[in-house]
Amino acid sequence: MGTDNTALSRREALLKLLRVAGAGAGAAGLGIWLSEHSWRPEAALAMAAKHGHTVVADPNLPEMAIIQGGEPTQLARQAVEELGGMRRFVSRGDVVLVKPNIGWDRTPEQAANTNPEVVAEIVRQCLNAGAKRVIVTDVSCNDARRCFQRSGIAEAAKLAGADVILPDPSRFKEVDLQGEVLHAWPVFDPFLNVDKVINIPIAKHHGLTGTTLGMKNWYGMLGGQRNQLHQKIHESLVDLADFVRPTLTIIDCYRILLRNGPTGGNLEDVLLKNTLVAGTDPVALDAYVAKAYWNMDVDALPYLKMAANRGLGTYQFEKVRTSVKKLS
């Protein structure tokens, strides 16, 4: 019997069939496996990162220090000294985050950002107290590169020895803020996992709330659609302050922005006050500065009472232990 040249041999045909069957079985297996793993994609779960940064209260030391009549560096030095010195707040080996307001593309004279010399002095004090690392950062509103440079804060803080971190858009983490109105939000990751947090806002006018002080500064740790927060501004301020619970708050009133805040720009809106208000009770600090410079009572700023109810401090600033000092 002659071989049929037009067909494969039995052996070859069998092998070919086996290959095809193998590939078919593989495809079917993969398909079945994949079909069992189909679920609707969910956004990554927000991580729980809430922890306070406060230090133990000392009944012999003031809770609020008001220092007047000096240059920024002196004022900052004196304020911390009145409150018991930086060693009370920063322990050896701590990682400290210093949060000035670097929100706007403005120079120090325009008083839209925290005074750079105050920031630098606080950084130096933290390092002297033994901090391992001091981070200075903010999530700016205007272009961050311009804000960090033109505010003078990047340069001053870097010279003082801080790590200045620009808000890199790839470094935000979805965090559960565990608040009443704020839940999952992207938070700039240097704000997470630090030992101590020092808030250094600047006192400014603000259209919606009348004034922006310490607690409003925490907007600057968030990414995402921050522009929605105005819809429930008082509730969200308290949620953020509750999430952070800072070690120390220093409200920069060296220059204050009286009108057209929080952006300002016009030097006529700026008033030189040569003052710093520092303390461990963020609610009392905001209440005091609002009354002192904008003559706003507690009822005009509903977030103060909400914050007090949440246990963040007291709005009755007259009742906190206060040290007032005038430098010559």
Binding site: D143, R145, G207, N266
Partner: protein
Amino acid sequence: MRLKPTKLRVFSQITFFLLFLFLLLRTEFRGSLSASGSEVRLPYPVGLFFQLDPLVALSNALASHALYRGLLWSLVILIPTMFLGRFFCGWICPLGSVHHFFSSFKSERKRGKQLIESNRYQRWQTTKYYLLIVAVVAVMMGTGIVGWLDPFSLLVRSLGLSIVPATNYGLRAALAVLEHSRFAPVQTVGGVLHFMLGTLLLSFKQPYFRQGVWLGVIFIFIVALNFRITRFWCRALCPLGALLGIVSRWSVLGLVKSAEHCNDCNRCLLRCQGGDDPAGGVPWHQSECHLCLNCVQECPEHSLKFKFFPRQKTVGTNLQRRKVLTGLAAGAALVPLVRSTPGFAAERHERLLRPPGALEEEFFLSRCIRCGECMKVCPNNALHPTLTEAGIEGLWTPVLVPRIGYCETSCVLCSQVCPTGAIWEITPKEKGWSVDVSGAAKPIRLGTAFYDRGRCLPWAMATDCIVCEEWCPTSPKAIYFRTAEVIDAAGNVKQVKQPYLDPARCVGCGACEHACPVQDRPAVYITSVGESRSRTNQILLNRRRG
């Protein structure tokens, strides 16, 4: 050992390409953590290649009857070309080097014969001269479309607005995989890589550009043409090559072919870049030669030499009168034809927001070379190439898109990098956005903000907001508010602050539109009316012009 002249050429090409790439990547304000300085400027002369470009200079001179800042430097290229020929194309031009590189993949073994034939001079190589004529006449008639084809415009636009953002995207995606890995060492590697790439290559933020995909596809297509015909772009299309070809007509450096040594092997054609016929038996086309020197090196008989004042007949630019006339006519007809539609004069696009410092549209269109430098440098990614907003002639000119990015209050970087003065160089003080803009000062205005009360939260939804007022950068603010009593869905009386706009103070920066929480179609938006560069596009009788 003597350094081969072609090695020297490759070295020069690589150097200039890297310089170009460096300057392109630094056409970005990266911020300095160790400098304060109230005025922000770029540390490098990022427009260097445009200033060296005689075509940009010619176009600018024809459009403005003057030469804008720095364009005089183009003489550094133009005058040596008169003496030496198109050395620029072979030794310096970064786009030429890209084409050279991608042309060099054709295998001699597989396609040697075909390669030799494709490198003979072809009549279609004169196309570039006709394109140059059309573009030059068009710029005289008032539109700078020469930039569509100018090699640096093409390169900056394609790389800066498409290839670089795409590279950024790809690298970031790869880094994210590493950084979110479950294994700590992989994360560390990712972090280190991110830092290194961040300082060298990556932008601060991922940039996006309208039409980026098309600009990229066009560029890739032009580069891919090299796989068919060596440096097709340079031979057939490049108007700068054409200009340099014309001025090299009287060049004193020429190719001398000694016919007695030539054995007609045609090896000189194998790697010829310009398609200028260095082979024996035909005249050499001086104006096509890139002086790449490959023919001299390839010749086994050493019968080709470049000499000063050669005694040999060459062919210069050889154009047909009829086509030249067609080119002239086409260029002359182009502008009147596109302006017979209402876009330019009678019905300007309401969203045609030009960058601060931009000249009045008529002057702007004639000077702008559509290069994209302003778009690349904008820190807020606010400037994008137009598609139809500025008419067909305005294709790829810059437009501000506030929803993507607003104009930063004291930033003037786009005016610093513009090579032609289409965006005239201004200082932050001249821009004038930080002071009271309604008084004696005359700020630059880009347009005017308007409210869509049907979408605005305090107007339509009884909800507090006024983020627009918070962001408004002028002082006093152009956005003001009144407290009003509204009734919410449950019937409760509520007090909210409702925003209004003062057109006397609005500069049209777009910060309000950018910050508006109504994410898809904002409740406040900018249109171009009131732009200070225009005398006619105005609303108010008493609003001062800048």
